[in-house]
Symmetry: C2
Subunit: 433 residues, 2 copies
C-alpha cells in the first residue's frame, strides 16, 4: 500500500482548492471515512475504495429538470450532479454522452418482450465506447489537480478515449500497452498523437509498471484515469443512468441489463438512479439491475449463482475482451446490488455472444461490440429462463462499437451468395423478389 500512501501525499497538495461542483469530499465505501477531494483512490484508514460524496443543492425538482433539459446535448447537461466545475461545458472536451436510447421493437418481438425494450447505444460516443464518459470526467479532475499528463494502461477502448480526450483538452497523454498488441488497436491508440508506450511484457506487466510509476517522482503530474483519478472517472458512468431516465421521460426503467468488467459501471448506474430518486427527479419505485458477463470470464456470475459474497478471480478466456477482467474490483458491490434489487448476474458463452451481436444488427441495425453481444445474449437467456419479466420496461446497454471487434463475427459473417455479373446467375441464386 506504499503506492497509495505516496499518491495520497501528492493529493493533499494537488487537491487543495479544487472546485469540482457538487463534489464535497472523498468517502470510503467500506468505513465511511471522509477526506478532502484529491487524486487518491484508497482509504488511508482501511484501504477501501474511495468514491465521491456530494452536496447537491436542494430545491424544486421541476426547476432542476428544466435546467438539465436546457443544457447541452452531452453529459454536461448533468453538470449539477457530477464532480466537475460549473463552467465545464465551456472548456474543450470531447463532450460524450446523450447517446441514443433506441426503442427496439423488432428485437422485442424476437425475444418475446411484450413490454418495451430499449437499447442504450453508447457506440454513438466520440470514440465509440462508453469510456468517453468516464475519461471526460477524469479530464476535469486532472485539470483541477494541475496534472499535465493523462495516462492509462489499456488494450482497447480506454486507450482511444484517453488519447482523444487529452488531444482535445490540450493535455499531454501517455498510454501504456503490451508491446505485441494487434496493429489495428495500436493505430486506434496512437493516431491521436500522444505518447504510446509499448511495454515488453503482458498486460499484467503493464499494470504493475503503471503502479510503480504512480508512486515514483517520474510520475509526478501524471493522472492515471483509472488509478489515481479513479473516484472521479468512475462517476462518469452515472450519466448512463441519468440519460436513460430522462430519455424515458424522467421515469425509471423496471429492469436494466448492464455488462460487468470491473463492475464499476453497474454500481455507478445504481448510484445514479438512487440520486435521481433522492432529488425527486423521478418517482421512487423498485427497479432491478441484471449484470452480464461472458462465460469465459464470469467470476461475478459464478459467485452470484453460488450464493457467495466474495468473487474468486479467474483467468479470462473469451472473445469479449473489453469485459475480460478476471478479478473485478467492484464484484462484491455488484453482487449486493443484483441481490438487493431483485436482479441477477448471468453469463453467456462466446457462441451466444456472436449470435446476439448478429441478432441486434439484424433487428435494429445496431452493430455492437462483443460487450453488447454479452448484454443482449444475457437478456435473451434471462427471458428464456423466465427470470426477466418480458412485460415490463427493460433497458439493455450496448457499451461499444462492432467496428472495434470485427474479428469476433468475421469467421461467420460473409456474402450470402457469389454470382456472375448477369441476370441468369442472379435468378439461379434465388435472389429475385
Amino acid at each position: 500500500m506504499a503506492v497509495q500512501a505516496a499518491a495520497s501525499t501528492t493529493a493533499d497538495k494537488a487537491g487543495a482548492g479544487a472546485s469540482l461542483g457538487p463534489a464535497a469530499a472523498l468517502s470510503c465505501r467500506e468505513c465511511g471515512e471522509r477526506i478532502p477531494l484529491g487524486p487518491v483512490f484508497a482509504c488511508e484508514a482501511c484501504f477501501g475504495p474511495l468514491e465521491i460524496a456530494y452536496e447537491f443543492p436542494g430545491g424544486d425538482p421541476a426547476a432542476l429538470r428544466e435546467r438539465i433539459e436546457a443544457g447541452p446535448d452531452n453529459i454536461w447537461r448533468y453538470a449539477p450532479l457530477l464532480p466537475v466545475p460549473a463552467d465545464v461545458a465551456t472548456k474543450p472536451n470531447i463532450n460524450p454522452g446523450f447517446t441514443k436510447l433506441v426503442k427496439a421493437d423488432r428485437l422485442a418481438r424476437e425475444l418475446g418482450v411484450t413490454g418495451s425494450l430499449h437499447i442504450k447505444d453508447d457506440s454513438g460516443n466520440p470514440t465509440h465506447s462508453f469510456k468517453d464518459r468516464v475519461v471526460a470526467i477524469a479530464v476535469e479532475a486532472a485539470r483541477a489537480f494541475g496534472f499535465t499528463t493523462l495516462s492509462c494502461s489499456s488494450t482497447g477502448n480506454l486507450a482511444g478515449a484517453v488519447g482523444a480526450a487529452a488531444a482535445r483538452a490540450g493535455l499531454r497523454s501517455c498510454v501504456f500497452i503490451p508491446h505485441d498488441l494487434e496493429q489495428g488497436k495500436v493505430v486506434m491508440a496512437a493516431v491521436y498523437g500522444g505518447e504510446l508506450v509499448g511495454i515488453e511484457g503482458n498486460y499484467d506487466d503493464v499494470n504493475r509498471f503503471c503502479s510503480e510509476l504512480i508512486g515514483d517522482p517520474a510520475g509526478e503530474g501524471w493522472g492515471f484515469v483509472n488509478v489515481n483519478l479513479r473516484p472521479y472517472y468512475a462517476e462518469g458512468s452515472k450519466t448512463l443512468a441519468y440519460e436513460i431516465c430522462e430519455q424515458l421521460g424522467w421515469r425509471l426503467p423496471d429492469q436494466l441489463v448492464v455488462p460487468i468488467a470491473s463492475g464499476s459501471q453497474l454500481t455507478k448506474i445504481d448510484k445514479g438512479l438512487k440520486e435521481l430518486i433522492a432529488l425527486g427527479l423521478v418517482e421512487d419505485k423498485p427497479y432491478k439491475i441484471f449484470g452480464a458477463q461472458a462465460e469465459g470470464c464470469s467470476p461475478v456470475s459464478r459467485a452470484f449463482k453460488d450464493g457467495h459474497d466474495v468473487v474468486r478471480p479467474v483467468r479470462p478466456e473469451t472473445i469479449a475482451k473489453s469485459l475480460a477482467i478476471g478479478n473485478p474490483a467492484d464484484g462484491p458491490y455488484v453482487l449486493d446490488i443484483a441481490r438487493r434489487t431483485g436482479g441477477a448476474v448471468e453469463d453467456v458463452d462466446d457462441q451466444r455472444i456472436v449470435d446476439a451481436i448478429k441478432l441486434l444488427a439484424r433487428t435494429e441495425g445496431i452493430f455492437a461490440e462483443t460487450a453488447g453481444g454479452v448484454t443482449v445474449g444475457v437478456t435473451r437467456k434471462l427471458i428464456e429462463e423466465g427470470r426477466l419479466d418480458p412485460s415490463l420496461t427493460t433497458v439493455v446497454l450496448n457499451t461499444g462499437d462492432g467496428l472495434k471487434t470485427l474479428d469476433a463475427v468475421a469467421p461467420t459473417t460473409g456474402p450470402t451468395a457469389v454470382i456472375r455479373p448477369n441476370l441468369d446467375s442472379f435468378r439461379e441464386a434465388g435472389l429475385a423478389s
Copy 2:
C-alpha cells in the same frame, strides 16, 4: 436509356399517391420539366438528372425555427424541409444526423485561423458516415413507393448504411459488392443480416449488373438507393447545411469545405443553404463553397483549375476510397457553385491526406476517415495559398470515421517508444514529465 425508361414506367405506377411532405414533384435540372413523384432519376425529355421540387409552407420564420428546435435530435427535426412524410419520426429508422459541430480552436491555431473554425463531424452517425443521412431519406421513399427490398452497389460506407437502415426499418436488403472485397469491409456490410452478394468482377461490373437488374422484372420492387431512389436519397445531404446553420445559431458560415465524390453532397449543401435563406431562417449574405478532392482522383479540381465547364473522367488512384469516383455525375454543378460563390476546388496528395488525418486527431481528438483528411488537407492548403480567408467563420466537413480506413494511417502510426517494464527503462526513454 432503355433502363431509365423502364424505371420510369414502374414509377408512374409506384409513385401514385405517395405523400412525401413538402416534396411536390420531380424536376429536371437541365430542362426544368416537371413530373410526378416516383422512383425515377432521369428526365424523359432530355435525360438530365431529376431533383425534388418543393412547395414549402409560408409563414413566420421564427415559428418554423421554434418548431425545428423542438424536434428530435436527428435529421427529422427538418422534416418540414425534406421529402418525407410528416410522421416520419414515429417510424423505425436509424435516425441519423444532428452530429456535433466541433469548434476546433486548437486546429485553428495550427492553421493560422483567427476567425472561427468548425468541424462538422459526421462520424457520429449510426454507422459512422454521412451515408446514413441519405439512406434514411431513401428508406422513406422506398416505403412510399411500396418497395420491399433496399439495394445498392458499394465497396464501403454505403453498404453498411443500407444494411443497417433496412434492418431497422424491417425491409429486406440486398447489397452488391465485388467478390474479392477485403474481409473487414465484407463484415461491416454483412453483419446486418441482409443479402450480401459478391459479384465475380470489379466495381464497374457490379454497377453494370445493377443497371441491368433495375430494368428487369427480377428487380421489381427493388429500391436502389442511389439509382432509382437517387433524387430522394441525394436530398439527405441538405440536412448537413441545415444543421451547420442551426448549430451556428441560425447563421450562415462564411466558408465551407466539402469533399467531392460524385459532387452530389456539395450541390445539395448549396441547395440547403439557399432554402434557409429563401425561408428567412438565416439572413441573406454571401458564402463560399470550396470542394476538396484527393489528387489521385481530382477530375473536378482539374477542370476548375483549367477553367473548363465539363469534367474529364479519370481512373482513381488514391487512399481516399470513399471519394474515388472517376466520373463524378455532379461535377459540372460543383464547378458552377464553386465559381458562383467565389470558392474553389482543390486537391491534396495522399501524404497530405494522412498528415491531415493525424493533425485533426492530434489537435481535436477526432479520428477521421480519409475523406476527412482530404477536407482538412485542402483547408490547410487553401489557407497556405491565401485562398481561404482565415479571419472568417469556416466549416470543414468530416464525412466518415477513421476506424473504417485504418490502413491509410497504419504504416506511419505506432508506439513512440518500446520499453522494458521498469522505471529505469522509462527514464532512459525520456518519457518522464
